[in-house]
Amino acid sequence: MTSLDVPPPPAASALSNYGRPLWRRWLLTRESAVIVAVVLVWVVASSVVPYFGTTTTLGFLLLDATPILMIALPMTFVIITGEIDLSVASTLGLSSVLLGVLTKAGTPIALAMIICLVVGLLVGAVNGFLVTIAGLPSLAVTIGTLALFRGVAVGLLGTTAITTFPAFWQNLAQARFGLSGIPVVMVLVVVLAVIFAVVLHFTPFGRGLFALGLSRDTAEFSGVKVNRAKFIAFLLTGIISALAGIYWTLRYGSSRGDNATGLELSVIAAVLLGGVSIFGGKGALHGVIAGVLLIGVLQSALRLANVSSDAINIVIGALLIMSVLSPRLLAWARRLSPSRTRQRK
């Protein structure tokens, strides 16, 4: 975004925050609350749930959370611009099927992976085209492409599964660093997370996404190329979902049309839980990562405590609702407290 001469104006609410001391600005945020919640749940679970504190648990927790962690990064971009992408899990499934079909046909796996990523870009471009150039609402568009991409994935493989992949890659997808339990794939995740965080928070493009989510027109007049920014955000969800599809296939050693069905809602739940506003223009990547981990830790702890893993849905649902209601509840609380002090005077 070289054409961005004028930095987008910060939101009025963000400006008012500068009246408060630095530590309050850093600690009393949504993101910190989620991070504290992750730590709390971790500590409680480690002391209460048997075997939770082991490196094996940590390893599986991270392996399981990786696809959501990856896709949540570009999804944050999309939601910050005020759009949404429901097709990510279907793109994951499509990429998984392609990887299977291509390797079965004798394509070298490295080439197959590149093709998957290119298809991911194309798929993102389809969404981006329909949303930005055709001007259609992203909610409706991506419900359509959710069915379309999943349909192509299921259509290509039917109910069969392809389960033969090079052992090297399958092992790599599950490998841990020595005894630490930390999966090797976390290197990729961390690199991606750092890149996305820097782009979102420290580049004109990233700041432009926030400006765009707060007010499309203001952003446009400030020199943000609105359509291009949204288009890029959709390209990113496409390619990262395809990457997550490759990982999913190798990690579970199985390429199936119905891989990761419904994962889009888990990703969106995690992003919103992490403090990103569904209206756009608000959020931070460290909150999102904490949101994903919070769900992952809860899931893992409840599973080890022999609670049916699906029952965690109640917790995720309640957390999601509480998290979107909490600003409103806080606002009420704030409105109550100053009025009380004034009355005392």
Binding site: I84, I143, G144, A147, L148, G155, D310, I314, L320, L325
Partner: protein
């Protein structure tokens, strides 16, 4: 859809009605449905011209029609209800449990309890949306998880089988009255009653006004909160009705009943011309959209397309429908602009 208002009405009522018929958005989708049925019947006459074929044609979409009608009403107010699939699952299991736990319970009582349960779940959605001032997408995503979680906790790995339910109840799911399945009659009554209310009653018109411009509706003095609540309760009631009919139709429910129905319902409404940002569309369109969705599903294998491709066709259909709506809207706005200019000359 009100393109009718821009065209000078023809002199007599018949011409006006036929004119309306040919211009309305629902006619297009109905034509598509007729073409699908006609082509499939030519390939395989038993698709329509056999007792079972005719019955299945009407019976299969009945449950989705109910949910699509509720969804359409919610979408018209510029909300969305993603929890319907979970409500169907909960009420279906509730119905089954009632037959097991309360031997000899009258069927009508089970109906009332299931519908009341749906109403309560819908009311929870509505209250959270109306008083939390949070987008329905987030709230109902949360309740979708929460309701499903309750279902899983309650059901566990149990299931209700057809042997647990009275035969009279199960017959209701498949019996026909004058060649028309009773489920279809129920769906038809719901569609007509809701359609009539939306078109002719003050409350119905207010739903459109709220969806077109919530702020203007509020300024105008409409009771937005109450209307939105009613829309969500209606969606819950219809999902509850769909749930108990699901139990009757399929004779078995478990903890995963109704999963994914929410996206089908939104898809049906969108295909039927209900704009995702509210304010336009009819429940008739949504109902025809539901029939088209499920009829295509059944037609594809007959047409020699592997049924794995069903979902891809559905996705293409949804995207086609929103592109079409966009083109129609553009044409309408061009027409309005030119008429505006003419009247000022």
């Amino acid at each position: 859809m009100s393109p009718i208002g821009t065209v000078r009405p023809p002199a007599n009522a018949v011409a006006r009605l036929t004119g309306h018929f040919f211009r309305s958005r629902e006619t297009g989708i109905l034509a598509a449905l007729v073409i699908v049925i006609a082509v499939t019947t030519i390939v395989n006459p038993t698709f329509l011209f056999s007792p079972d074929g005719f019955r299945d044609l009407l019976l299969t979409p009945s449950i989705l029609i109910l949910i699509a009608v509720g969804q359409a009403v919610v979408i018209i107010t510029r909300s969305v209800d993603l929890s319907v699939g979970s409500v169907v699952g909960l009420t279906a299991y509730l119905a089954g449990r009632l037959f097991i736990d309360v031997p000899g319970i009258p069927i009508i009582a089970v109906f009332l309890v299931a519908i009341a349960a749906g109403a309560v779940l819908g009311l929870i959605n509505g209250l959270l949306v109306a008083f939390g001032k949070v987008p329905a997408l987030v709230i109902t995503l949360g309740t979708m998880y929460a309701y499903r979680g309750v279902n899983v906790l309650w059901t566990g790995s149990n299931r209700v089988n057809s042997s647990d339910m009275p035969k009279v109840f199960l017959d209701l799911g498949t019996q026909t009255v004058l060649f028309i399945p009773s489920l279809t009659i129920i769906a038809l009554v719901v569609v007509l009653a809701t359609g009539w209310y939306l078109r002719n009653k003050r409350g119905g018109r207010e739903l459109y006004a709220i969806g077109s411009d919530p702020d203007a509706a509020e300024l105008y003095g409409l009771n937005v909160t109450r209307r939105v609540l009613v829309a969500f309760v209606l969606s819950g009631v219809l999902a509850g009705l769909a749930g108990i009919l699901f139990a009757a139709r399929y004779g078995t429910t478990n903890s995963q009943t109704g999963t994914g129905l929410e996206l089908q319902a939104v898809g049906a409404a969108v295909i039927g011309g209900v704009a995702i940002f509210g304010g336009s569309g009819t429940v008739y369109g949504a109902a025809i959209g539901a029939v088209l969705l499920l009829t295509i599903n059944r037609a594809l294998p007959i047409l020699g397309i592997q049924d794995f491709w069903q979902q891809a066709v559905v996705g293409a259909l949804i995207i086609g429908a929103i592109v079409l709506d966009r083109l129609l809207a553009l044409r309408l706005s061009r027409k309005l602009t030119s008429e505006h200019q003419v009247s000022h000359d």
